[in-house]
Symmetry: C2
Subunit: 124 residues, 2 copies
DNA sequence: GCAATGGTTAGGCTTTGACCTAAGTATCGC
DNA sequence: GCGATACTTAGGTCAAAGCCTAACCATTGC
């Protein structure tokens, strides 16, 4: 409720686009230059560069330039952070839903009145 | 490169906003009604409802109405899907980066010419 | 029935995101 | 040096995202 992580915002936002996810998938095979990364996409280079910028700003990739070629490489830390958040959440959720299931199971033949906190059940 | 999953787009987009993540965190404690979820946020109700809609469209939550109260609940499948993508990626990345590290380690005193696919190294 | 409660819909505003074209700049190769 | 290569920068369009206010239902409680 309280802690806001711009880092997570950026990482999830970066992951929310298919082009960017595809770039990450390509990079998991090995480093690559801009034009090499851009090749599979039917998109003007400058548009594509924006995607690379989003990825780099999120921290998911790094890049360096040598001569006129800029090479991109993955950088896994931010992904680990995002994955951590998700894993933590999922665990909580599943634990909770398990408890709920067991609870509902117990009063199988009964009325199934309330879920837990405040909401009640029964579709209508 | 080839497969585009609108489902993943939506889930990651849903997760890219701090308000929405906070709602999910709240829901991992238990179901809750709209006004209860909205309470901690300094935001007009209709604006907040949009966030709930994004969450529901992504599949991360469900809701049902009883009388005039709408109750929200988590729905973990889509999160598991997103987590799956990330875990798969991370594994690839880390495996790759490990290989790279070992490789670079081997030619420690040497020149460190190329990374793997195409890009070369050396900061400048 | 009628006011209060709990959500919902409609519409408008502003910012951000995803694209594009056109015009640079900085190597590289001969 | 000079053309080709590999990005970069500038600026413009259009749609989507995030917020808001102002009505508008639908229950509930007295």
């Amino acid at each position: 409720m309280t802690n806001h992580s711009p880092q997570l915002d950026r990482v999830f936002h970066a992951l929310a686009d298919p082009t960017r996810r595809a770039v990450l998938e390509r990079l998991s095979v090995g480093t690559a230059a801009v034009s090499e990364l851009a090749a599979p996409f039917d998109m003007a280079l400058p548009s594509f560069l924006q995607h690379l910028k989003v990825l780099e700003t999120s921290g998911l990739v790094r890049s360096w330039k040598e001569g006129r070629v800029r090479t991109y490489q993955l950088s896994p830390e931010p992904l680990r952070a995002a994955e951590g958040w998700m894993a933590r959440q999922r665990e909580l959720w599943e634990r909770r839903l398990d408890r709920l299931d067991r609870y509902l199971e117990e009063l199988k033949p009964a009325e199934r009145p309330k879920a837990t906190t405040s909401g009640a059940r029964r579709k209508k």
